[in-house]
Subunit: 354 residues, 4 copies
């Protein structure tokens, strides 16, 4: 019953096998090997256009370098108030850009409200140096609270970004979970909507460590190559990332693992919905489930072996949380088993029967 | 005949197996898992004292964060003119410290000359803000040109650092190769000599990606934790590094692979020594061999499948290099085979017989 | 009728005379001259304790270097949402600290609400690197909207800062205006309340360019000396700042000019209060007056030669602003004349008589 | 006998008068006032083309922001080993660019040797991220050791910069001294030779504080405006700089003061040449004189009231300096009097007569 985070899982067997299969032999280092090149090509196929691909070590690196790609003095990037770049990266995006600012935009359940975005960006005047100036917009897909921007949602954000001549970044740490939730294609979910650069995460969805920046604006690729190296994010034995991505994409493994994670979340949500002791806070759209329950009940579940975290109330959730209650987050992954869900379901039921 | 670099090899079978063995199950993320903790403990045993261990993605990250740990406004770090931090990291050490400077110190064959170091550091006056101020000393063990600081060499550098109250960093991207060359212990080669922080590299010696900062000054550990996260170098599924180090240290694998690489270098050097068409530039002490030969001969060797790079003349090498000659570098690793050396030897011999 | 800003005025005649009087002769450069030293001593007298004084070029520099003095990786400083550091410095505070963050705290009419401050700071957990960590608290005295923190207000903020072991910075771009408004002493308004570092502004109150960082925590003085030089804020002919401050403090000129500016603001406020066409938005406490009026009326006043700006609605002001109205800011200074106020009063009256 | 530095002088009477004359009245702040605009126009006339002018607080700021204007990740700027940017700015140029590097180029007597420059730049390969990449070339005119680049010298450097597509920066802290030494025009000494950006210093030549960046590449002006504000170098009462420059340029005051300083240096050099106890190290071309003398003699002169500094031996000076001797620097300025030179001459003579 490990629902603490999708990064508590290890690696999918195919990923591990992929690594082992590529351990022998010699290869050009620093991203120029045959396998690296093949995987870059695979990304272009998946995105249905030529893309520039940069492997990096962490999702934080992917996000920070993506924004740094569009860095300018006095720059301000706009992201959801509860986004990972704002809440969970120790200021890395600001650091990687030598002090650019992240401006928090509100919106219900993890998604930027386009009206808020327009209102905030619209206040800036390009010639007034004192105020700084807009630099980029960043959205998280799927969001930190398990919701998913629909294609029209992305259109609305992209339209504002385009109007203000700002690049649009997508933090895709859970890219695959959103993709299968929307039943769409990578191209439709990104550049066809106006996304310019993507943090493409494989780690949470079955890899050990496989994060890539996917850049559609090829003119910036050379600069990003220097940015990445200067940020100490260029792997020497780069093929260990490539090997993971090769296995990840093979036979659509990545879509299968994401579908599995989402399905497990839906089952978990149903179990909570059915329970007497917990209320689903809102409907999960990807692989994160949020529930309100009594703190005592949560402690009981944890004591019985369920791992999950309490969470702060997100903007736009106006459900009731009693004094003795709290909001809790449950995350599923490729490694979540039917058994663990059934076990949790039984545990929940046992509580209400006492 | 892959002698281009020790990072052209993949991973040692034991490392690959170690990863696969740990792919299942769930574990706390971000370096707090059971396996992570066990490996930190293993480092303390190996260094014969309590150390703080920080896994990072690359050797450049280890070096840059090590220096940033001792960052101060106007700070200047001293390193060998041909060191990796100066020549091969795209300015990452400066970037990670917001603009501190690297001051090049000369010395023969990759090793800082203590007299030069003292002369340069001695010029600074702590109260004159214009000049900036000394911040750290960094040495590379083994060096970029395959030589090794003896324990007394390290003593001499450490004594100067201590006199000027400067921390001493060791870039140990090839730590193991130096260690077995000196037939000493990690403790003797580092903190017992006065080293404060080590970039401990496993990647070049058989891992896929296993770099760690080993910090002896535990008071700085909390700051380094923030520095690492802010630099986007904190892995979520951290145990994939831990698993590599676990296998790396098991049954002294790391010492065996380093001994093998060094022995292969010695054999390669002997082959060159014996050849009519190449001259050994200086005696290798670790796993890098440098030779002078005719450019035409080098091209012939490359055409026949040998991979190696030409190199610039290092400070302190005053051997003759003719107009039609160049200096070349050959690197061996855990993966270098007897066969490849024999093949190269035969190839060399074939050339002089023509 | 120049009410656009207190930095539209030139220099007080005594300041200009002070500069001219010191133009001759030779003096040690970079802040070590006799006059510099005398002025530092004067600061210590004024603050009734030994202080370290650093002249800098701008208020933005004073603020940014003050916060940088307490910089730490992942650091977050807390300031009012409408503070100068957040709204008007083009990201300089973030830049000077290599990417530390400014977190906006709400509070009515320019003053941080202590409850909001405590609530926000209280959320951080020192051991969780992902979230970053509190670094400093900054208040503006007098505020951007012409209000003044009372001594008890400062006590309340300082108590929270102290509880969380955070330094307290005061942006005193209008230090003197607040000081005379409170009829207190520099010591009472700062270190006796728990303020650790002050941006002490002379420019808006009669100097050409005279900004100083006043540091009470002398242990940090050496670091700040390097920070200032590295930020290119160390003047060579430093006595041109010293000469201004000498004249500024002589015979309490600075208190007189501040009292004059505040009195002019009070007269202006009374004129608005009396007028039929403008409503005072809130009571001015220092030298800034805010009024709501019809846009057409504002245009009429501007066309007649009055200079002032429209302003955005500050947090905590819930007065009505009609569709055809706006909020306007009027700033007075040492150079504001009785005549200009009378002229403006007549102009206002003329409007309502039409 | 104040020969310590040209920044030990105060301000020329005309500069002081200019400031006083502009102290009254109101003006738009932040560089947009009528006087500011008039002075920008004056710069364009002086340089015989449209230029963008940015007032800043210090020469260090002018240099650091000039280089930051051309900043790029992994960037390396090339400057003379003994240049101010390398030796005397506490790492500000690196800091302002978030960690770009300054690479020291050797050359005799303060001037970059074009062959050395070409050799060093030529080594870089634009596609190899590890090495970083050339970003700018910076020359100092007149140099730190009182020599002056001839127009053909500048041509030679500019030609290399152009060949490598690098911008050429001129540190003109002593721009006027070089200009009158060459008897040329600002246009001829800068953009007509290929200079792209100039740190134009007025402070050492008679102002209190008047430094400007003169940018020929107008496309970069908008970025520099943000860079300057973010670096806290945008003055509010900007006209106090404009007023100084207005007086500086009026009736060619700046050329007169520079000619005076250079003439005083020539007289001082002649006095040294004639003396028995000091030898001129090399011929001064601007307002700095270097002499070798016995340390005891220097102490005698200092004890008698002469202020000057000892100096380290510059590259390219191979004159003999005995064990009991040292090299000393004497700087003259607009404020140096005939009397002080005569007094020093007499003092020197007195020594040899003893």
């Amino acid at each position: 019953m490990f629902f603490a985070s999708d990064n508590w899982a290890g690696a999918h067997p195919n990923i591990a096998a992929g690594l082992s299969a590529n351990a022998g032999g010699f290869s050009t280092a620093y991203g120029d090997g045959t396998l690296d090149q093949a995987v870059y090509q695979r990304f272009s196929e998946i995105f249905e256009r030529e893309v520039a691909v940069f492997f990096v070590a962490t999702g934080t690196a992917a996000n920070s370098l993506s924004l740094a790609t569009y860095n300018k003095p006095g720059g301000i990037s706009f992201a959801h108030r509860e986004s990972h770049v704002i809440e969970d990266e120790c200021g890395a995006p600001e650091y990687f850009s030598g002090g650019s600012r992240l401006h928090a935009i509100d919106g219900a359940l993890g998604k930027i409200d386009p009206h808020n975005l327009e209102r905030v960006i619209g206040r800036f005047a390009p010639e007034i140096v004192h105020w700084g100036r807009p630099m980029a917009v960043s959205i998280t897909q799927s969001t930190e609270v398990g919701t998913v921007y629909g294609l029209d949602d992305i259109d609305a954000i992209a339209s504002i970004a385009r109007h203000h001549k700002l690049p649009l970044h997508m933090d895709g740490a859970r890219f695959a979970n959103a993709l299968v939730a929307l039943e769409t294609t990578p191209a439709e979910m990104t550049w066809k909507r106006g996304v310019d650069i993507v943090s493409f995460g494989g780690t949470k969805n079955g890899c050990w460590c496989a994060e890539a920046i996917v850049l559609f604006d090829l003119d910036r690729a050379k600069e990003l190559a220097f940015l990445r190296k200067r940020a100490a994010q260029l792997f020497s034995k780069s093929r260990f990332i490539a090997a993971q991505f090769e296995a990840y994409f093979k036979d659509d493994l990545w879509l299968d693992t994401a579908r599995h994670a989402n399905a497990m979340a839906a089952r978990l949500a149903a179990a909570i919905e059915d329970s007497a002791s917990a209320q689903l806070a809102w409907l999960p759209q990807a692989n994160e489930v949020f529930a309100v329950m009594k703190k005592a009940e949560a402690e009981r579940l944890m004591a019985a072996g369920a791992a999950f975290y309490d969470w702060h109330r997100p903007h736009g959730f106006d459900g009731h949380i009693g004094e003795d209650e709290a909001l809790y987050r449950f995350v599923t992954s490729f490694a979540t088993t039917d058994e663990s869900i059934a076990q949790f379901e039984a545990l929940l039921r046992a509580g209400s029967e006492e």
